[in-house]
Symmetry: C2
Subunit: 193 residues, 2 copies
Amino acid sequence: MNTELILANIAKHISLDKNEIDFFLSLLKPEEVSKKSVLLKEGQLCRDINFVHHGTLRAFYMGKEAKESTIMFAVADWWITDMYCFINQKPAMLTITAVEDSQLFRLRKEDLDRLYLQVPKFERFFRIIMQNAYIREQLRIIENLSLSAEERYTNFLSRYPKVAQQVTQKQIASYLGITPEFLSTLRANKRIK
Amino acid sequence: MNTELILANIAKHISLDKNEIDFFLSLLKPEEVSKKSVLLKEGQLCRDINFVHHGTLRAFYMGKEAKESTIMFAVADWWITDMYCFINQKPAMLTITAVEDSQLFRLRKEDLDRLYLQVPKFERFFRIIMQNAYIREQLRIIENLSLSAEERYTNFLSRYPKVAQQVTQKQIASYLGITPEFLSTLRANKRIK
DNA sequence: CGTCTATTTGAATGTACTCAAAAGCGGTGG
DNA sequence: CCACCGCTTTTGAGTACATTCAAATAGACG
């Protein structure tokens, strides 16, 4: 599992010298997970933030009556964790599972904190990562408030075509906030795809 | 308009020496705005991020057929802007108005960029601000996906009691993603407040 | 005081859900 | 390799939640 992708991800926003790169890499724990395996379970302590090197992960919230709400999908080159519980080291609200066999790098909270101290440039890096995540979530809220289920679905397909190929309709429905049955009828009406 | 509140806001996450404080303050532009005045209009370039010193602001998205969706409210001690358009210096998607007479400090994008260079600790500060904003938006998405309109309303009241006192029901409804008529019947059913 | 907007109320409608059952698809073991 | 099992997807009928439209009332502001 090579480190080119994650280093390129970092290099998008900050430049590191050789020592800094080595130190950063020394903190990462590569991991291969198979389809359906659970990386984080609701209630567990959320110890790491994950960078997806290959594959697809899904984070969801389990509401009343076993109703799942998909909070995010992550494909290659994405960071994913239960941010609230990661930052505050609280029991997770979210469950994170592998949608397909995946490879990731995990970074522990305490190691990230060390990284911030030793290489403050990473404050900048994660400032930008958080900023983008915030903007993305806000855009999603705007869409949820202002668009119909059908429009949200077609937007999802065009914005995340790779994700759409990997995950089930049921999972997409739970991301959009509608039932799988209703998504099915939407597709039938529009003859989408 | 004194600077204690904003300095305390900063001090929650980083500590500055005298020079750094002075430099930071030199970049701020205090501004008093009266009720209903428009700080940012959809389509305009979004040049600043705003810190609310006193009062209440509201950011909303204008969808089809004059339907407003409230994206966020900001009361004293909050930062608010159209983040996407601020960061990318694009025409605003959001409109930001004063719900009541308010006092704020504005910080221009180019000055924030200078601040990052001169006082890198601010990378940390805004990393934390962005992180919190991301977490908050994600929580809102979870609620939108998993709770009923009534539950979201009661949560809103308990989470943002100050905001709830300042804004109209119509504005709250547009934040929750329901019509004002429906919010009115919810309140009647529950005899809430 | 008069005007404008917000809020309430109610009736009719539509969007999305629940429940149920059938069909499709993928994975697994005999 | 096929048969079966479990889960996903489809389809449909009936229902509930939330909207639209309309009109009356209440509040805020000049």
